[in-house]
């Protein structure tokens, strides 16, 4: 289906890709994560990462990268794991390349915003019938 605005579509796509791949570049694959590994929260993990709700609005690309991240962590070799103290003070392991701090924050944020704006753009495309409904230079 097309509303005949290819120029806009291409620009939106480029903007989306800038945000999405900047996020992945900053935080690594862990920026798009639909499940929490056991070492990330006191409830032993396995829970849904709420940021993924926003990221999922990006479409299949989010689920693809999420699955890639999950398979990378679950299938990690021994030398890709580091020993850490878990929340219950037992010794556990974490994936060596898990982003922490601002890298994790911004990587997740970039991808979540890409998904959210993608959703807003989809709503806009579905709701508009004529170009003159645009709000000028705002």
């Amino acid at each position: 289906m097309s509303i005949g605005e290819k120029g806009r579509g291409v620009r939106i796509l480029v903007g989306f890709l800038v945000l999405w791949f900047s996020g992945l570049l900053i935080g690594g694959l862990g920026s798009v994560r639909y499940w929490d590994p056991p070492y990330t929260n006191p409830a032993a993990g396995g829970k849904m990462n709420l940021w993924f709700i926003a990221q999922a609005a990006a479409g299949p690309i989010a689920f693809g990268f999420g699955a890639l991240d999950a398979s990378l962590i679950r299938g990690a070799e021994e030398d890709e794991l580091i020993e850490i103290t878990m929340h219950d003070q037992t010794i556990g392991t974490a994936y060596r390349y898990t982003a922490i701090g601002h890298a994790a924050d911004f990587g997740t944020l970039f991808c979540a915003l890409a998904g959210l704006i993608n959703f807003a753009v989809a709503l806009d495309a579905g709701g508009r019938t004529t170009p003159d409904r645009r709000g000028g230079g705002r």
């Binding site: 939106i12 900047s22 390349y97 601002h102």
Partner: protein
């Protein structure tokens, strides 16, 4: 030197913890690209509009930072305690 062993997209970008503020212009630029692609009437002015919006948001952040700095550093210390 830390960049030499970095594997993009697998490992997080090194050095972000101390340089995270530089990510703000990139974030705003990406948002402006998507936003202006929808809002702008004439696509010929697209990049100009994107640049203006990026600058406007950055200046707004700067204004907020200055405002909060003044509040925390100068106003709060002179408030009567208790």
């Amino acid at each position: 030197m830390t960049m030499l062993g970095w594997v993009p997209f697998i490992q997080p970008l090194p050095g972000i913890q101390s340089n995270w503020l530089w990510l703000l212009p990139i974030l705003i630029f990406g948002i402006a690209m998507m936003y202006k692609a929808v809002r702008v009437i004439d696509l010929a002015t697209y990049w100009r509009e994107v640049g203006i919006m990026t600058l406007q948001v950055l200046l707004a952040f700067l204004g907020l930072a200055v405002g909060i700095f003044i509040l925390v550093q100068w106003i709060v210390p002179v408030l009567p305690s208790g």
